[in-house]
Amino acid sequence: MLKKLFLVAVAALALAAVPLTASAAGKIKIGFLPGVVDPFYQVMQLGVEAAAKDLGLEVVTQVPATWGVEVQTPILDAMIARGDLNYLITAPTDKDQMIGPLKAALDSGVKVITVDTFLGDGNYVTGPVTFPISYIGSDNVEGGRISARGLAKAIGGKGTVYINSTNPNVSSVEGREQGFAEVMAKEFPDIKVLGPDYNLDDMNKAAQQTAAVLEQNPDLAGVFGTNVFSAQGAGTAVVNAGLGGHVQVVAYDATKAAIELMGKGVVSLVLAQKPYDMGYMAVQFAVADAAGVTSLPRRVETGFAIIDKDNVKDPEIARFIYQVPGQ
């Protein structure tokens, strides 16, 4: 924890130097390539665009329609082929398969900052992958731990719970599953964990899978949806089965739909990440790097806002709900 504080402090100091030197760095152009179209990345885009505006530079954004390396890679190639980008802020859709294409981007002169998901093992200092400037994202393992403890409390410390997740081999959701399973195994031996099932980022499939598990385990006590689509899909299944309020759902990612479900008593805990921070800081890092700063931390863990029905109305907390103006 202390180490984290230290890193954030260093980051803050490094960033403090940025506004002075931004103009000196000259106009840089940044590319933004998130994972897929969803509220989480839309809020991240808000952060990216806000930082771009504040620092006076241009961002080229392309959002893949579906999640997958075969969709993200051609778009990546085209963005690099433009030849006018200096930095690329991206959420790699597979921590191993995207190493090649992103390394090729670096070879073409485009430096890479990963947000939300990382390459390799996320340790860009001593790990297998070291070429990205930094990884800015949630400590997903910790997020998984928090979710586990929250769900355990909500169901009274015993019972059967189920994990519904999105894609295998994606660092973010993997970390969440890992942290969740870890805490359940160590701290709540009376809780049995089912899953994870992968819905491949399809909300309908998430609902179907959850419904099936509900059928099979009529005494299911809780569900952990590891991201936007998983949580919404699982929540829908619970409502459709008429079990809203009896089966506790913990949702990772604070979409408006998840908050609505919390209002209806279906979801008991929502973990809001801070995608706005990720996007904003990524742009700042790019500018800092362009200005010659070399002490940027290689890993920044943005925090969480833990939302439950008691604090959801508190504006300090509610501002972390993923809202895009106009939607």
Partner: protein
């Protein structure tokens, strides 16, 4: 052979109406070439619009970009090539996307096992290729056998096998990406025949670039990546088979009039099986190349590509009723889709607009195909697929 009956047949022939007037023939020729024209117009549009939109900092038809486009069309084109044969034969193969995924997983597992067992890199890659092609070919065999012998419509059969294949792929990959492959296989998946270094100290290199770092590395363009060469070879073979061999002609005949093919003694059942093996094998090659490129096997990689491959085939002028179409048409169709995606990215337009445009072009292609049929008074054909 000559004789008095010949005169009767001759009179028979000339008694009926003459063939089409030249204006109609002109329109017919035009309808076959429209896809080429469309592609050309699109390229011209992007060449002009991209620099204008980006204040001169970005160009469309750069060496790197054109090579990117060639690499981008590889999976869709390979799937589309097999599909071309099947659709000309009045069938359809909805399983190619998942067969590609299965092949990707099989080749990854094979390469990993072979390499870990001590086999050197290149033979391991060959083992992976064999695994991909054999696995895919097996699926094609099953598809073709059920369609030909049990007379179940192709639409249904290939839809059914696509689910089975998907399950097998996910099972074998244990629901995750198959990793742990030797990183050097990426060389086969993305290295190229030539390397060109722009500017100072530059030049053209064959097969292996000099060790470069930093600034010079940035100025290096890859020309003719290995996947592109493999695809080009497959395209050439496909053109040869379709145009020059009995197999190709029989494919057209079966698609044009199944009854005629049966009655004139063409071994239709065997031929249909071969068509589906062909489309599965090309999907297998696509899966293998994808494993090399991403150094991993993925059970979900082919899923979004099925519809794109069919779109490419239709835009290229292959009639869904069978009996008509060319390989070059499918190549043009795949190029149209890839040029569109790349151009849109360079214009900062969200790339999902490509779906809308591609959809419109597909409908346009079908309309043109229909009206061409009306012009020549196309007669009803028998089909063996929905």
């Amino acid at each position: 052979m000559a004789g008095p009956e010949t005169k009767a047949v001759a009179e028979l022939a000339t008694a009926s109406s003459a063939s089409l007037p030249t204006s109609r023939q002109f329109i017919l020729v035009l309808s076959r070439l429209w896809a080429w024209a469309f592609l050309g117009l699109m390229i011209v549009f992007f060449v002009i619009a991209v620099p204008v939109w980006n204040d001169g900092s970005v160009n469309f038809l750069t060496l790197r970009n054109s090579q990117n486009i060639l690499v981008a069309i590889t999976p869709v084109l390979l799937l589309g090539l097999g599909q071309t044969f099947v659709i000309i034969g009045a069938g359809i193969d909805l399983s190619v996307g998942w067969v590609m995924s299965l092949a990707s997983v099989l080749s990854a597992l094979a390469i990993r096992s072979a390499f870990n067992a001590g086999l050197p890199l290149f033979p391991s890659v060959i083992v992976g290729f064999a695994a991909a092609v054999l696995g895919a070919g097996l699926v094609g065999l099953i598809n073709g056998a059920i369609i030909a012998k049990l007379k179940v419509p192709a639409f249904i059969v290939t839809l059914g096998t696509s689910f089975i294949v998907r399950g097998v792929a996910l099972l074998m990959s244990e629901n995750t990406t198959v990793i742990g492959l030797p990183a050097d296989i990426r060389d086969y998946g993305s290295e190229s025949l030539f390397y060109f270094i722009r500017g100072e100290g530059g030049g053209l290199y064959f097969l292996a670039p000099p060790e470069l770092t930093g600034e010079m590395l940035r100025r290096m363009d890859r020309i003719l990546a290995y996947p592109v060469i493999v695809t080009a070879i497959v395209v050439a073979i496909a053109i040869f088979i379709l145009r020059k061999t009995q197999f190709g002609r029989h494919t057209y005949a079966i698609g044009g009039n199944l009854e005629a093919a049966l009655r004139t003694g063409i071994p239709v059942d065997r031929h249909i099986i071969k068509l589906y093996v062909l489309s599965s094998v090309t999907a297998g090659i696509a899966g293998f190349l994808s494993t090399l490129r991403f150094t991993a096997g993925s059970a979900v990689i082919g899923d979004p590509l099925l519809l794109s491959s069919i779109a490419a085939v239709i835009i290229g002028g292959v009639s869904l009723f069978g009996g008509a179409g060319t390989v070059m048409g499918t190549v043009i169709g795949a190029l149209i889709i890839a040029v569109l995606t790349t151009g849109l990215v360079m214009l900062n337009v969200q790339s999902f607009w490509q779906f809308i445009v591609v959809g419109a072009v597909v409908i346009l292609a079908v309309l043109i195909d229909q009206s061409r049929g009306l012009l020549v008074g196309r007669r009803a054909r028998s089909r063996h697929a929905t």
